[in-house]
Every structure is written in C-alpha cells, then in structure tokens.
Amino acid sequence: MAWYKREDREDDLSEEKRSVPAGVFTKCPGCRAVLDTDNLNKNHNVCPQCEHHFPLASARRLELILDPGSFVEADATIESVDPLGFRDSKKYGDRLRAARRVSGGADAVRAGSGRIEGTPVEIGVFVFEFMGGSMGSVVGEKVTRIFERALERRAPALVFSASGGARMQEGVLSLMQMAKTSAALGRLREVGLPYISVLLNPTTGGVAASFAMLGDVILAEPKALIAFAGARVIQNTIRQRLPPGFQRAEFLLDHGFLDKIVHRNQTRATLASLLKLLGPRAQS
C-alpha cells in the first residue's frame, strides 16, 4: 500500500485519475487538502472540506443506497467472450482476465434487486474499474435485463452509470447494445414505471447516448463529467479552448439535461422520496 496517494488536479481532464483512495493519506484534487483516508472512507469518499466526490466502489455504493441486506444480485454469471478475436497491443481475452482480477467482478456492471426505504427497485451499478465501465455485450445484456425484470415485477428501475462508452474490443456488437438497452427501456416506459438514471463521473459515449440520458428523472453527482464526445476529440475538431466547466454536471443542469445534482450523502434520501412520489402506487 502506498504511504501517500496523490490525485491529479481535477481541471486536468485528460489525466484525471479514477482510482479509489488507497493510501494512509489522500490528497484531494478539489482543494489540495491532505486527507486522512480512513475519514474519507467514512464520508463515502467525499472530501469533508470541499465536497469533491472521489470514486466509490460498486459494493459500497449498493450499501449506501439500498436497505441493509436487501440486495439480491442477478446475472452475476454472465461473462464476456471475445467474439471478434480482438487484439491491439494486448489480446481482449487477456484484458478481460486482468480486469476481473482488478475489479473482482465479472464485468463492468453489477445488477440485482433491492429496496430503498422499503420500496423494491431493480438496480444496476457500473464498475468503472472494469475496463473503464465500458459497455460490451455483457453490460448491454445485464442492463436490458434490469429493465425487463422491472417490467415483470412492476418495480421502478435505477441505474448508476459510470462509463467511458461502448467497448471497442467487441466492435459493432457493443454499438448494438445501445439500441438493445434503449428498446427495453421503451417497454418499461410504456407501462408507466419510472426509471431513475444517476450519472457518476464519468458518463460518456455510448452509455450517455443510450439509457443513461433516457431517465424519467436524471440525477448526477457534483462535477461529474457527462458527455457524448470526449473533450480531446472536440478540441481536435474545433481547435478552440473549451468553455469553463464544459460537460460537467453543473453545465448540463444549466442546459436543461439534468433534473438535479445530488450530493452523495443525500442520494439515498432523494431516491427514496422520488420513488414514493413516482413509483407504483400501493393498492388501497
């Protein structure tokens, strides 16, 4: 374990680090304060001084959001294959094995059922540590099943997205997951069950351009990067400096693409209220 973990400055988009605080001390990229990592963990990885939201592991996210002991994982045994025999500097198969080792999970999303203040929900949480949360066939299938289960069980759906976009190593099959997930969501919407999308840092590319931006209600964590095209791609296209705060949650809220920015420690309470207001009405 590192004695001292330095986080890169938050305004440096290209080098933004995503690692979970791990050393004894962690430097906050928001305010440069040196934080006791234990205290940071107790505050759900939010800087107590400047409210910078560090990444939070999927297991801890589920603990934070759901009623204790209510999570029942689904589809944990779906695993990626290598349909194209893809190889760049590494084989896709090797990348998958390495990602499974690092993340301890089978792929880039965990899904299941749980309750929030008693209201049953079908939930998904992205695992960014797994190949940047990229969406290949497995992620697409698991997200689709979240919406299908929600429809079957007449429960609201809830997805916490954190993804670099579609997974290039599965080529056009990854692209098609955008259509598959959006189609499944369409069926849920037709019967009037709400879907709440929570955007974490970062939510970009093919995940943003499908179910993540299709929430009946869209929430985001403060300063989360939310984009279709990455800043570097845009900069290469227009050869201009990007406006300050471009593609951050606050920017999207200003432009009308988010309902609300919610502090991590308020998320469970906000979701509980929204589910009571929008969820299926109890039979009286």
Binding site: D88, G136, S137, A166, G171, G186, F228
Partner: protein, 338 residues
C-alpha cells in the same frame, strides 16, 4: 473523431484511390485508343482485349480488398450519397425541414415520396459533394437537431402508417461544443428509443460510412442492409487506433480488428443482407447501385408489409434483443473461461 481523407490521386476530374489507379489508367488508355482509332475497325480486337483485361484487373483487385481499402471506398468522394439514391428511387420526393425546436440540420435529410408504389418516409445522412456543400452539410455529421428532425418525421410516418426507409452514411454525430450543449447524447438516445417502438415497417441500409452512435440513431430497423463496400463500426478506425494503439497511424490494423465490413457484419448476424455494388464500387455507376439497392429495399419492405403493427414492434425488439455475445453459467462458483 476527426478523420483524414483517403489518399487520393487526382487524374483529370475523377478522384481516385491509389488501388483504383491501375484500372483507371488502363481505361484511360482504352478511351485514348478509341479516340485515335476514329472508328477504324482494325483496332477493335485490341480494344476489346484491353477492355477484358481492365475488367479482369478490377475483379482481381476487388476480390482481395483489405478492410482498410473498403473503409476508403465507403468514404469515396464520388460515392452516391442519400440524395443520389432518393433521386433515382423516389422521384416525387418532397423534403421536409426542421426539428421545430432549434434549427434545420442539413446533415440529415428527410421527407415523403412514393417508393414501390406506396408513400414512404425516407430519412438519411447527407454529405456534401462540393467544398461549399460539404461545409453546409457539416461533412454529414449531424447535430442534435438532425436527430430531432428525424424523430419528428418518423413519428409522423408512424401516425400516418407509412413505412420508413433509412439510409446511413456518416462518419459520426458531430463532436462539437454546440452539439454537446444541445444534448447530442440525449438526441441519439431518444432516437434509439423512439425507433424501437414505431408500429410501421423500418428498413435501413448502410450506404457508406456507418459511424458509431450517430449512424445507429437512424438504424433501429426491422431489416438492416449494407452495401458491399459500406462499413459499420462502434468507432472510426482512426479513433480506435489512437485510443487502443495510441497511434492513429494504425488505422488499417484497427479497421481489420474491429470487423467492420459488410461481410463481417453479415457473419456477426447484425446485417440481414449485403447489397452488391457496381463493379469497382458504387461510385463507378450510381444508376446500377441505386437499382440494386432499390430491389433489395423493395423485397424486404414487401415482407414487412404483411406484418401487423404489434408484430413489427416485436420483430424489431427481438432482433436487437438477441445481439451480443456472452456466456452464462448457471453456477456462480464456476465461471466459464472466455
């Protein structure tokens, strides 16, 4: 992703790819010979022989095209674009404009006309031919208003029970500040959801470049056709190379690795049919390529017209529902190795 233009050799007015050069040069010689012979019959056997040789050479070159060469053909500047097909297949086409929210996007064209004896909606990406038109059409890269116009027209087609034909030809949705500000991601996502739920037949054809989400936003169809030298991928080969190889010079490797040609997509089960182009590529004969495309569209549409609205929605849902490749084991303790 910014893309470099295909390396073009310019001879006269015809833009030409480097691997097309041997054939085109031979054809020039034949034309020259025809011209100097001035109708004299003694040169006819020689001309016929050279003609046969040119066709043979073209067949040989085109039988061995690499994926990267197909990418270049899909972007060929003389390739027929959406309006070229519409002109030939839907002569009474009336273009309709605007998203009723912000603007009209010239990178997407849409309108109604008669195809195969019935009124249909045609929507497609549109690239420009001249420099001025290229700029006006933003190089065929739509902004959110382009997708919102498509949504508006498709919902109108659904209400009036008109089938929808979509022609896909874009390097991708526009990656720019204004497009992001107006919700490029939301616009594409909404198109996917809307198309999935429409109760009318939808047939799409990738006629050139099928670039990522910006292409798919017109591609949630009951049938997906692809021209012989069209490509369809999750990211451009240049983009893939710069991210995974950290070297955009590796675009040919990326094009091969991503399996983005029509035959690849047919094998992956994404595409229903590969439509033959004119020998040497669609740009060599716009009329023949349009006839081939028209025939295929007509055939698929005829099959879909027999289906009830709910069956069409279901058929489209199931088509995309089955896309993807994964393994699933019933036993948590024993994950199947990839």
């Amino acid at each position: 992703m910014a893309q470099t233009a295909a390396p073009l050799v310019r001879a006269g007015d015809t833009p030409m790819l480097d691997f097309e050069r041997p054939v085109v040069e031979l054809e020039r010689k034949i034309e020259e010979l025809v011209r100097v012979s001035g109708g004299a019959t003694e040169l006819h056997p020689q001309i016929a022989l050279l003609g046969a040789r040119a066709r043979e050479l073209q067949q040989k070159i085109f039988a061995e095209l690499t994926p990267w060469q197909k990418v270049q053909l899909s972007r060929h500047p003389a390739r027929p674009y959406t309006l070229d097909y519409i002109e030939r297949l839907v002569p009474d086409f009336i273009e309709l404009h605007g998203d009723r929210r912000f603007a009209d996007d010239p990178a997407v064209v849409g309108g109604f006309g008669t195809f195969a004896g019935m009124p249909v909606l045609v929507v497609g990406h549109q690239k420009g031919r001249s420099t001025k038109e290229k700029v006006q059409r933003n190089f065929g890269q739509p902004k959110p208003e382009g997708y919102r116009k498509a949504q508006r027209l498709m919902e109108l087609a659904a209400r009036t029970r008109r089938p929808i034909l979509c022609l896909i030809d874009t390097q991708g949705a526009y990656p720019g500040v204004d497009a992001e500000e107006r919700g490029q991601a939301e616009a594409i996502a909404t198109s996917l959801e809307i198309m999935a739920g429409l109760p009318v037949p939808i047939v799409c054809a990738v006629i050139g470049e099928g670039g990522s989400g910006g292409a798919l936003a017109l591609g949630v169809a009951n049938r997906i056709l692809m021209l012989e030298y069209a490509t369809y991928s999750v990211i451009s080969p240049e983009g893939c190379a710069s991210i995974l190889w950290r070297d955009d010079g590796k675009k040919a490797e990326a094009a091969a690795a991503m399996k983005m040609t029509a035959t690849d997509l047919l094998r992956l089960g994404v595409v229903d049919e590969v439509v033959p182009e004119a020998p040497g590529g669609a740009h060599r004969d716009h009329d023949l390529s349009a006839r081939n495309l028209g025939e295929a569209l007509r055939r698929h549409l005829a099959e879909l017209l027999l289906m009830a609205p709910e069956a069409l929605r279901n058929d489209r849902y199931q088509k995309f529902r089955h896309m993807g490749a994964f393994v699933e084991s019933g036993d948590k303790a024993a994950p199947t190795p990839a």
